[in-house]
Symmetry: C2
Amino acid sequence: MLAPIKIRDASLKQIRHACSNCSLRELCLPVGLSRDEMKQVDQLVTQGRPIRRGEYLYRAGQRFHSIYAVRLGFFKTSVISEDGREQVTGFHMNGELMGLDAISTTRHTCDAVALEDGEICELPFDDFESLARRIPALQHHLYRMMSREIVRDHGVMLLLGNMKAEERIAAFLLNLSERFEQRGYSHSSFHLRMTREEIGSYLGLKLETVSRTLSRFQEQGLVKVQNRLINLTDEAGLRQLVSSCVRD
Amino acid sequence: MLAPIKIRDASLKQIRHACSNCSLRELCLPVGLSRDEMKQVDQLVTQGRPIRRGEYLYRAGQRFHSIYAVRLGFFKTSVISEDGREQVTGFHMNGELMGLDAISTTRHTCDAVALEDGEICELPFDDFESLARRIPALQHHLYRMMSREIVRDHGVMLLLGNMKAEERIAAFLLNLSERFEQRGYSHSSFHLRMTREEIGSYLGLKLETVSRTLSRFQEQGLVKVQNRLINLTDEAGLRQLVSSCVRD
DNA sequence: CGAGGGGTTGACAAAAGTCAATTATGGTGG
DNA sequence: CCACCATAATTGACTTTTGTCAACCCCTCG
């Protein structure tokens, strides 16, 4: 989906200097800016702010000022229905944007909370917009990022609308695996940052179903599960489970 | 969601002149542009092209050049999985945009097909983007429209993830009702443009479940169903069903 | 007027949810 | 460092919801 990083070593150093977090640039910001443009972007992005596990970035209903880029950590966004039931709308990691949904109403429409300690960049949206007018690549990049979010959501709709519990969970694990790998972590062994209930909420399943399905996967030798530690022992098998469906 | 139309009669005439379809402007384009800006926007938007029922606007995989604004008619967008299962991602009417998902990959990610004869405006995206740089309100408006799409998708995720068949269908009918009303049609009596199967695909249900649920609603006096003609006879009752996804 | 697509309905099967009991786990304070 | 508590996770028995398969109707269109 994203342009791979193709930066010569020499210029890499420059970029590191201009923006202290490289993966942020790779994932959130366009490549191919001039040095001057990069400097302007960096001035816009406030330095990463540390966030504690359990801390809310924003809550539904709050006034919208900024979008947020995850620099480090693991976040979830969710909408809460009146009776308190939660629908998790996404899990967000390193280099992903949050808060795009709030642009339309100037109020946040969901909650964003850190599932582990992390670091966040805040991008004041008004400033972003006017800067985007002067830097076409930046403008285009935000359109792309929003479009990506729409595509992602369509993928989730497909999952929720068409897939059985096993397929959903297999797809979920593979998706996490891929995203961890993109960030240089192991694709076959990772730690879930969320509870079974949160997984269930995201996938439209009850926590018991999530638990049972993971157990079954383990019996079948597809994964090894130790609480939140996941080992994908048969990725091909998992892929086969979802192969009937489109993945993002 | 959308800013209501607050235009004095005098200027209304001007606008009608500048853009032959008023509801298009109301829904798709920002208000408050100068006459000159409006003229530029209108030059960008090609005149509405007639579209026949069954005709495809674009298909998944095709190269992306333009976004589309529905001027008249009723469209569905859907992704098809490899094994041929369809997930309808949305129904689109008068004044709504389609194709925003394609920006991220420069290829369309879903199919868009007309469910009845209609008329479509094509907006070449490159031109749109550069014009947006010169007209801040236009740039902002597209960000808003994309954000709206994300919010809408989150709503569907909530529906698919948390609601029972009855709740989904009630929510679906009320949503259609509202959108028809916004466009000046009856909110209590309307014609479904899609089959039970397409409704089911959108709502994550089988067509039999859709049919049965509508029959049950009719027995309960909530609606009157004559094939595709729907009469909402107890909107409050429907609304109660949806909000009683509060069941605890 | 007959074929075919869309729609309804019934009987049954499968999937996931609910309730409840039990077992880990991790964080905290003594 | 350990014991304890609250929270998270697992598992089983049973219920509810939805899907599946099949028969049938109805309407339209060629």
